[in-house]
Structure formats: structure tokens, C-alpha cells
Symmetry: C2
Subunit: 423 residues, 2 copies
Amino acid sequence: MNRCPVASRRGLLAAAGGLVAAAAAGPARAAAGGAADAGGAAATEPFWGRYQGGILTPQQRHACTAAFDLTTRKREAVEGLLRTWTAAAARMANGETAAPLGTDLSAPAPDSGVALGLSPARLTVTVGFGAGLFIKNGVDRYGLAAQRPAALVDLPRFTGDQLIAERSGGDLFVQACADDAQVAFHAVRQLDQLAYGVADKRWLQTGFLPDAPAGETPRNLMGFKDGTDNPAVGDAGVMEQVVWVGSEGPAWMEHGTYAVFRRIRISLEHWDRMEVDFQEETIGRRKYSGAPLTGTKEFDPLDLNRADAEGEPVIAENAHVRLAAPASNGGATILRRGYSYNDGVTFIAERWPPWRQGMLYDAGLLFVAFQRDPRSGFIRIFEPMAKLDALNQFTTHTASGLFACPGGAAPGEFIGQRLFMTG
Amino acid sequence: MNRCPVASRRGLLAAAGGLVAAAAAGPARAAAGGAADAGGAAATEPFWGRYQGGILTPQQRHACTAAFDLTTRKREAVEGLLRTWTAAAARMANGETAAPLGTDLSAPAPDSGVALGLSPARLTVTVGFGAGLFIKNGVDRYGLAAQRPAALVDLPRFTGDQLIAERSGGDLFVQACADDAQVAFHAVRQLDQLAYGVADKRWLQTGFLPDAPAGETPRNLMGFKDGTDNPAVGDAGVMEQVVWVGSEGPAWMEHGTYAVFRRIRISLEHWDRMEVDFQEETIGRRKYSGAPLTGTKEFDPLDLNRADAEGEPVIAENAHVRLAAPASNGGATILRRGYSYNDGVTFIAERWPPWRQGMLYDAGLLFVAFQRDPRSGFIRIFEPMAKLDALNQFTTHTASGLFACPGGAAPGEFIGQRLFMTG
């Protein structure tokens, strides 16, 4: 019983046939679908298409994000990995195992089996490229340096950044979202398994959303509705302007987008001891209704010019919503698609009164935002916020990443194919 | 905008009235219920009763477990905390805030608001007492030392234990389970907030289960169905024998139970590279069907005596199910109610071939088991397993706890009341 592992992929290669149980798993999972979905939405999100999934897709309840560092020196190996990932992701989005399980039980299986019998749970898999795919430590490992998009900058150091290197960056980025935490983790795990010998995982971060009633904006861990001001994903024109790369190049990025990842710890203990009206001034919105301080209903527009009887702005100069608003940033807009995270507690000494130290929550916001160009998107918006936002006394950015997410693939193509064809 | 926090609890104390929005939240959450629940089960689990919830309750999809260390020296403060926790837990199980929100927005709110508008999501809150409530560092802080149950032993060091002190133990234990990760975390957070000045949180660990179709045994992160052999929670006689403390004493523990907590890291990368038939020999069951190696269907009984043509046992001597089976342990039985956990990746050097080191999953099993007496339950079963189980080469116990969970409370009582009345 003490056998050594086998490194062979016989199971994967030999798996032309389909184990009866495994073959049945696809339809079974698809059929079991609806139960997990509020509002009777379908349990399957399309994988193939002009755009990658997981960007405009209505948010699933769970996210499993991860980054990988490429360890290979061979361009073909990277291309092969993306080809394999694409095929596996398409199968998993359909509720299938990453590859057919095969009938040979004397070999390692090409899938851990942890999602057998489960609904596809609206799984989406989104792949992005970090700067390291193009150039790393000054080395053009794969002959792709000339194809690095100008928009794929190195993010500047923002005021207050406390970034943990091993939770940040990475050559490849994967965002798996699903209505089932196990389905999302399964997707990342199988892609990781397929990357053996080509890329090592660097970090993994899970997130969740509450099961808010259909049509209601979910509350974040500060107890505020989060996402009210997002641009309309149903408006194709707005999405082309805000999210999708057009003809500005590089050509391989057309229909792609840039993902900004920030792990934002929130000092929940500190926040919870604040007066509600102070929380509201900090955000610029009412806590319970979500209405701006200049309105009465959640979707009332912000009136950034309104002053009170003393001539003070109703929405303070350093209120979060003011600084984040397109009107404060020359129209700059991004599509936020974040999740809350809860990584338990860690020893932390607070910077602010009552200067507590001890085991405090390591919880907050797994901020993910998509935009056509981070220079006119996240960076434009966040640089002033990092300096001025009243919310900063409760938040610390502990990890960061910027990734170029290419367009989607048609059946027979793979994600990133146009880069490797043209690069 | 840079005010200091206020430590006052005015919000809590002054909140006799009910904010309109908050008052409406209870019914709204109850009404929104069913959507989250597979099989159309009710969205509310009863809080009051002879037994605490979260023990026989059909498992919810998410768990948020935590432990607290008491910092007070006053017995009345501990009693007051349990009284407050009981009231808050009962409200939250009903989909309400931990306390009425009140109308005073110029005070901190007695609830973070993160669960407003959500279904109760079948929330259960289970409270347990660690040895430290009775005696700590030789000190009987609360005059309760004589009431420490004999069954609340210090767990022995098991072979292979690699326990992290700051993830283990604790004077008080809380298990919040719900079908919504945010609802479960909310419950722990509010109890934590109510403990300010009386107890500090020590650790917090989340877990999840897949959304397996109704009636199917969920698969763990090893891809095997987990829980097939559990005793029947629907059989009151079995539960009285296996789970609930009877007249053996102490009297305050009648209708209570003992919770064993173990955080078990599983080397998923190593496991995934094992041949399927080797995985099956290790467990003693078929991976895809869940059948014992001596059967063809999941619920076929284990035949521990069956031998193959060579006279070797079909279920190996060191197979996991053999060592865990009541028949191998003089009938010892526990009720397992575990969850998978996924805490991302950490740097780990593996002990086994292929001796990988690097960023590996910190994921596995949040093992929770309930039993009438851990000496004849978990300890009896696990001591030989810790030495012999073939599964041990893939698992490491990294945290541990044993907690006495008293019986339930009737309205007007609080959890643990009989201890404080008699102690």
C-alpha cells in the first residue's frame, strides 16, 4: 500500500473510451442543474463565443481565482497548455470531467472526480495573461515580447499598498466562477493538474457572494449594497466602450479585456464599531436602502454638487462613491465583478483606534474589475482614491494583479490562439 | 471624516424600537427562503429545543466554525455572554439581525447588516465548551472546575499530529452552518462582536459541501463519496446511543454531545497522481460508485472477512474503511458532519514521492464529529487509524479541538444554563 506515485499520463492518453459512469455524468449533471440557481436560470453558461465567459456573465455565487507561473522555456508547451486548458474548460462548463475518465483504473485518472454528479452550476472559466508571459526578468522566453499590449502595464505602487508578493501577479490567471464552491475549485484544480511540468500555481483565492434575491444588489462585508453603480452589462454599446478591446490593438486582443485583481482586507472589527451615519458618510450612500446621500432610492443618481445648509457637500469630498464616480474621473468607468473573501483570522496590529491587536479577520473584498484599458480605467480611478478615499482607513490592499484576457474561442480554437499565431 | 471609533454599545442598548427597514427584514428573509434549498426544504431550522441544532440537522452547504478564548475573570460575564449569544443566535436562525437595529444612526449598529435581505438559509448555531472554561493553566476562573465532564479529556497526541496551536483549542466553540456562506459568516461575526471585552476569537475556519442532488452522498476533495457509513440520524434510538449524553452525567450535559474538530490537510496533488485502483485500495471503496470493494452498490455492507483467491483480504488490513468501521473498534460509532475546506496554497515540502515542494493546496477536510463520549468514540477509533490507516500518507491533521456541547434551550433559557445554575 506504499506505492510510489506514477508520473505517467496513461489515463489521459488512453482514455478514448468512456467509463459508463463517467459518460453518464455529463447529462446527469446538466439535468440536475436548475436546483442551484435562483430564479430558474439555466445551469450552463456558454463557453465558446466571441468573448470569454465570466466577464459579463451574471455573477455566480462562488469564485476560485488563481495564478500560475510558467516554468517551461518552450513556446510550444505554453501553446499546448492553453489548448489543453481550453478543451478542459469547455468540457467542465458543460458539466463534464476535464477529460474522459477512461476505463483504465490502474492509471491515474485525468480528473479528480470531485464534481461527478454535480450540476455545471453555471461554471465559467476566464483565462488571462500576466506580463511574465511576454517578458520576465528581461527575458523574452517565448518570443512574445513584441506582442505585449501597451495597456498591460506594470501597475504603479498606489498609496497604502501593502502587497504580499506571493499572493500577487503571475504569468497566467484563471478565474473560475460557479454557483457551487466545489465546482469552481474543481475547475482550477484540473487546470492545475494539466499544467504539471509547464506551470506551477502561485496563488489561489476563493470568494463568495450572498444568495441575494433576484434583482437585488448583494451586500458586501461592510453591510452596504455593492455594485449599484456598475455599467449596464446588457448594453452592448456600453460594454464595447468600457470593457472590450476594439481595434486599438494589439490585434490578438480584440474582443478581449483587462482584468485587475486586488485582494482588499477590510478591518471588519473596526468598521463594525463605527456609527452608522459615519459609515454612510464614508461611503456616500445610505446603508440600509443603498440610496445616495442625495437621494432616497438605491438607483437615484448621485448629485455630487448638492450642498447642505452650511454649504458643505452632502456627499463629502472624500466619500467613496464620489471618488469612484465616472464624473470625478473624466468619465472613466470599469466593470466591477468582485466577491467577498473570508480567510479566517490572522494576527494583526491595527493602525487606528482603538489600536486593537490580536487575531483579527483576514476578510474583505476580492476585487475583480474588467476594462478596455487599465490606464484609463482602474489606474485612472484608483490613484486619487488611494490617496483620498475616506474608506482607506478601513481597507488595505494586500495583493494585486493585472492580466490581459484575450477574446473567446470558437470550437476548434483555443483561448489565446491569435497571440500564438501572430506572435 | 477621520473620527475615532466609539467603544460604546449605545446602539445595542438604545435599540428598543425597530427601524422600519430592519423590522421588515425578518419576514422578507423568511419569504425569500426556499430558493437556496435543494429539494424544497424549509429555509428555517428550529433553534429552540431539547438538542442544539447543527448536529442532527441535514448538512447545510457552508460552515463557519470558530473558537474563542475567554478574557474575563468574571463568571457573570461568561453567563451574560451565553445569554446574549443564545438570544442573538435564535434571532439569526429566524432570519433576523442579531439584535434590533434601532433607529439611532448616530450609534454603532448592533448588527453589521451583511445578512439583511437574505434567506435564513437554514442557519444553525451550535455552541460548545472547551476545557478552558472549566480550568485553564491550573486556575478555576469561574468556579466551574468541578463540573468539567470526565469525557472532556485533553485529547492525546495522535501519531502524525502536526497541530498548529493557534488553529486549535479554545474556551468556547461556535459552529454556524447555513446554505449561504455569507449567512454563516454573519452569525459568527455577530457573536464575536457581542463577545467584545469578554472573549477574543482564537481561530476561524470555513468549509463547504457540494450541491449534491438530494439523497446522494456528497463527494469529498479526494473524489470519494464521504459519509456513507454514518449512523442514521433519523433513528432516535441510535442517536441516543451514539450522539446524546444520557444520565451518565454531569447532569448539565444531558441531551448534549461532544464535538471533535480536526483540520485535516489532504495532499491533493499527490492523491491526484495515484492510480484509481490504488486510491480504491487505500479507501476500501470504489471511487465512482462508492461501493465497498466487497460489494457493487454504495450501501452494500462492508465484508471485512472476505478474501481473494490468494487468501488476501479484499478490503486491505490498512484500508481506511476497515479501520474506521464499528466492527473494527468494538462497535464504536461517531456521527461525522464534516466539510471540505479550501484555504488556497501555502509553501509545503512533501514527505512522499515525488517530493514536490512549492505552493501546494492547503485544502482538505474540516472534520467535525459528534459523539456521546470521545473516549469511546473518536479517540477509540482514531488512535489505531493514526498509526495504521493507508490514507495517512495523504493526510495531515493540522488543528484539533474537543468541545462539550450542552443540550438545547427552551425559549427563556440560554445555552449552557444548567451548567451555570448547578456549577
